[in-house]
């Protein structure tokens, strides 16, 4: 019974925030903070209490650490079916953590329509948790599309207008259209899968466990897999369809960027791991080289473009494209080590990207620009923030001792046997990563001083947020074992699906 509460708490909390505005601007913030704290607490409790050796695997019914089923639309065989395994619990905890942080980082930034802002924020997070828990494909799609609306409002109403005429509304609309259109393609795929299953068994159902047993002709399987892949690729983002991301990130308020980079991108990786691969293993195996090359391309392209940006938030946004490229390579590698690396990378990137966006927000509150050309010399003008930025830049470039290093290292070492050339090229991304990360630090904090006036330092709240993230990132870097243990069974299942299909493909050649 605990799983639906993970979703309901943010939704109810959001409504309370909205109405809480009647009693002043502070109340909604506290309600939101408590809501997210509750979500994080519940997530941690589930993590501590669950048996995460249970996870779906090929053959037999999927087993879950926690499960919840109730009828919803019997006419179409749709149930409210929530389930949790190691992968989802990690994502839910990450969502709770970043939820707390996004409330905290908006404490001063958002001054108007506070209640409505927190309503949207809470509903995004509720939708994301729903995506991570749903194992009914209709329900999954429902949450997948639902979280777009509050995100749209967040960017359109509280965002910043960017440089050279890019308005926040254009950015928000672009984000919405990209994800909505690709989502509909996935819906068509979902329905096609359901009807294939219906024609085979006579049972109309959207249940993950049942649909796993569908037998698909190779051509159909490939097409359906592509339908899923397109939707996930847009959110991932894979390079040809990434163009919404820099705009949305740059124009969103800090909390929006934190959520986008920290968890919304992860829903795509999660979707591939949970749905696209297990449902269509053979087609995925066939598609794997293409996906991995797309990943390599994203790594290099993202890094190069990141280097060329003058807007600090766009720079961080493009670096996300680069980092998620590693995850894409790992997902399609079919190697247990790489898949576990992908999970670590997802968590680490969630933490480090969130921290970088929070730092960008804090910097913006002080210097009122995101243009790197107008910064410079800030190191001398304020304590703490530049040094912490340096730490997270180093984390982003994959410095040993941080979670990002563990993730990228595992991904590269795990994928190498299967695809050596891809790994060799992907590794250049680490070099390029150092280039843009250090360039960002150099342009913003070193160099000639533009103004002499000292800037106000970080408040305790701001300092606590970023230092907490830094501590977690180091913890993940030196002792990633808890994360690896939790995700082991889930990733083992995915690996079996993928490896079986890859073997079949190899023997067929």
């Amino acid at each position: 019974m605990i799983l639906p509460w993970l979703i309901l708490i943010p939704f109810i909390g959001g409504l309370l925030c909205w109405q809480g505005e009647r009693f002043g601007h502070v109340l909604p913030r506290w309600i939101a903070l408590i809501t997210m704290g509750l979500l994080l607490g519940l997530g941690l409790w589930l993590w501590a209490s669950g048996d995460f050796t249970l996870a779906p695997a090929p053959g037999g019914e999927p087993r879950w650490a926690h499960e919840f089923v109730i009828d919803w639309i019997p006419r179409l065989g749709i149930t409210i079916h929530l389930a949790m395994d190691g992968l989802s619990v990690l994502m839910v905890v990450l969502t709770g953590l970043l939820g707390v942080l996004s409330v905290l980082c908006s404490w001063n930034e958002i001054q108007n329509r506070v209640g409505f802002f927190h309503l949207n924020l809470m509903w995004i997070l509720g939708g994301v948790v729903g995506v991570f828990l749903a194992v009914d494909l209709f329900l999954f799609f429902f949450f997948w599309e639902m979280m777009l609306v509050p995100m749209y409002f967040l960017i359109a109403l509280w965002g910043h207008s960017g440089s050279d005429g890019r308005t926040r509304i254009t950015a928000a609309t672009k984000f919405f259209i990209f994800t909505q259109a690709s989502g509909l393609i996935m819906l068509v795929s979902i329905l096609a899968l359901v009807f294939v299953h219906f024609n085979q068994t006579g049972v109309l159902t959207f249940n993950y466990a049942d649909l796993l047993k569908t037998e698909l002709a190779p051509g159909t399987e490939y097409l359906l897999m592509l339908g899923f892949f397109v939707a996930f690729a847009v959110k991932f983002p894979v390079v040809p369809v990434h163009s919404w991301l820099p705009d949305a990130h740059a124009q969103a308020p800090t909390a929006g960027s934190v959520d986008l980079a920290g968890i919304l991108l992860k829903t795509a990786a999660y979707g591939l791991l949970r749905f696209a691969l297990p449902l269509f293993p053979n087609a995925s195996a066939e598609f794997a080289p293409i996906a991995q090359w797309l990943g390599v391309f994203a790594i290099i392209y993202g890094a190069l473009l990141s280097f060329a940006q003058t807007d600090i938030k766009r720079l961080v946004a493009y670096s996300s494209v680069s980092h998620m490229g590693f995850v894409l390579i790992a997902i399609y590698s079919g190697s247990q080590i790489a898949l576990q690396g992908a999970v670590v990378q997802m968590v680490a990137h969630g933490l480090s990207a969130a921290a970088l966006f929070i730092l960008c927000g804090q910097l913006y509150e002080r210097v009122h620009t995101r243009d790197l050309r107008q910064m410079g010399g800030i190191w001398a003008r304020m304590p703490w923030l530049p040094a912490i930025s340096l730490f997270f830049a180093a984390a982003a470039l994959g410095l040993p001792g941080t979670g990002n290093f563990v993730g990228e290292f595992l991904i590269l070492i795990g994928s190498f046997p299967g695809a050596p050339w891809i790994v060799v090229l992907a590794a250049t991304g680490l070099v390029l990563g150092s280039v843009y990360a250090l360039a960002m630090i150099h342009r913003a904090y070193f160099g000639p001083v533009q103004q002499d006036a000292p800037l106000p330092g970080l408040k305790a709240r701001e300092l606590a947020m970023v230092l907490g993230l830094a501590a977690l990132l180091i913890l993940l870097g030196v002792y990633p074992q808890p994360v690896l243990d939790t995700s082991a069974a889930s990733m083992h299942g995915v690996q079996q699906w993928m490896a079986g299909a890859l073997d079949q493909l190899a023997s067929g050649r």
Partner: protein, 494 residues
């Protein structure tokens, strides 16, 4: 075919009760107007009559399916669409009352009462149409539905646009009817029958050139009423010119009734389905989806925007019609219900914004800037409606769209689905544009809600109910789905 002896029993009367009550209401309203003009009284009489007609569906359902004269077949399908038509008319009447204004001399300057009469007559036409199983019934219903709308559209006749729209609609509608009649004549010439099922049966064997032309012409006539591309040219002008509650009626009750009869014709007459006809419908659907959505992008007038968007929505509905198997009939039922709900909400907001009548409707998009700070509840309603039109989860529109896509996938209509995905992506753009306009903050804007009188309040409450229903059906659609599932078509054995 055996000849039906016309014998009327109590059963037949019960089956016809909704139609009889509606017609009786129209007569009572007419007499009341003749005796003494009273806006409030006319309104109350119309509302009571329509509610009674809705209630009389319950006994009618118990005797269904029943053939009442060869012209009409009262089955669950007919009852479901009757309920939709009646509910939509009821909502429009409520809006009209708010729109025309109170007794105090404010608001609409001309005679107010006849508008109710026209709505009731038109609703009666809709009831005939949805239960028609015979070309004669179809034509009578269609004309009874359309002719009063000429007057309704031009009701604000001292406004040039309204008058122009009325005349435009009358001329084009008459042309559409002429096509329809000619098509029927050709069909009759070839098959010697006018009942849907018999036409299908006698034409299933051989299908001559003449029949195909006849069917094509009928399709043109119906496509005109449904404003499908390329017969859509009247739609934006008429939607813009018509008083807002009348536009609501046109978008909902009128279109629902025509689509229901088209569905029945298509399903029952095998000659209608198959071959080049479904290819033609596919083309019309794709064109409607793409043109409707693309042209809506350019609009700065909310009524025109909704007009173009309705073209696109009926394009989506054609997907289900072409699918014609499996979930298709249900998909149409669900989609029409959600569409009616959403259109009523959207036009309702425009109506209340333009209330009481003051020469022109508030339909320019800029008039809605920052509406959130002036009228938060109306804004909430319009936001839900825009999301529902765009088909976003948590709203009824999502369920409708989901059903139509499911029907399309089941019938493997990939081209149509492609157009639908593309059209939805385009559609999102202008729906979002409207939505975000509502929340744009203007400088020196104060937070207050416009005061409203009782008439507005009834409309406002109705709109809130509509919005809540749209939300509720988006979260828990099962009741609607069960209802629609039972409202399947029954082909009575002859």
């Amino acid at each position: 075919m055996e000849h039906h002896a016309v014998e009327f029993t109590l059963q037949h009367l019960i089956a016809l009760l909704p139609l009889l009550v509606t017609s009786l209401t129209a007569i009572v309203v007419m007499l009341a107007i003749a005796a003494k003009r009273n806006h409030a009284l006319t309104f109350i009489l119309s509302v009571v009559g329509l509610n009674l007609a809705l209630l009389s569906l319950i006994p009618a359902l118990e005797v269904a399916p029943l053939e009442v004269t060869p012209l009409l077949l009262i089955d669950t399908f007919a009852c479901y669409y009757m309920a939709l038509v009646l509910a939509a008319s009821l909502a429009c009447v409520t809006l009209i009352h708010a729109y025309l204004g109170g007794e105090s001399g404010k608001g609409y300057p001309g005679n107010r009462e006849e508008l109710y009469l026209l709505v009731l007559l038109s609703a009666a036409g809709g009831l005939v149409l949805v239960s028609a199983q015979h070309l004669a019934g179809l034509f009578i219903g269609l004309e009874l539905l359309s002719v009063p709308t000429y007057g309704m559209i031009a009701y604000a006749f001292f406004n040039k646009r309204s008058l122009e729209a009325g005349i435009k609609y009358m001329v084009l509608s008459a042309a559409g009817s002429a096509f329809l009649l000619f098509g029927m004549a050709l069909l009759y010439a070839e098959s010697g029958n006018l009942a849907f099922a018999d036409i299908g049966a006698s034409l299933a064997r051989e299908s001559s050139q003449l029949v195909q032309i006849g069917i094509g012409m009928m399709l043109i006539g119906l496509a005109f009423k449904l404003s499908l591309v390329p017969f859509h040219l009247w739609t934006p002008d008429v939607y813009e010119g018509a008083p807002a509650p009348v536009a609501a009626f046109l978008a909902t009750a009128s279109k629902v009734a025509v689509f229901a009869v088209l569905l029945r014709l298509y399903q029952i007459s095998p000659a209608m389905s198959g071959g080049w006809l479904s290819e033609l419908l596919t083309l019309i659907a794709i064109a409607s989806i793409l043109f409707g959505n693309l042209l809506a992008l350019l609009q700065n007038n909310l009524k025109r925007l909704l007009g173009y968007s309705s073209i696109a929505h009926f394009g989506y509905l054609l997907v289900a019609l072409v699918a014609s198997k499996g979930l298709a009939v249900e998909a149409v039922g669900v989609y029409l219900a959600t569409y009616v709900l959403t259109s009523l909400g959207a036009f309702g907001v425009i109506t209340l914004m333009s209330t009481p009548y003051s020469g022109r409707d508030a339909d320019a998009l800029y008039e809605y800037r920052g509406l959130f700070w002036r009228r938060p509840y109306l804004t909430a309603v319009l936001t839900v409606m825009m999301l529902s039109l765009a088909g976003i989860p948590l709203t009824a529109g999502f369920i409708g769209k989901f059903y139509v896509i499911a029907a399309g996938v089941e019938a493997q209509l990939w081209w149509l689905l492609g157009a639908m995905v593309l059209g939805s992506a385009i559609g999102v753009f202008y729906y979002l544009r409207v939505m975000v306009t509502l929340f744009m903050r203007e400088p020196n804007m104060h937070r207050h809600d416009a005061p409203f009188d009782w008439g507005q309040r009834a409309g406002g409450i109705m709109l809130l109910v509509v919005a809540l229903l749209a939300f509720f059906l988006g979260v828990y659609p099962q009741p609607l789905l069960e209802l629609v599932q039972q409202a399947g078509l029954v082909a009575l054995a002859q």
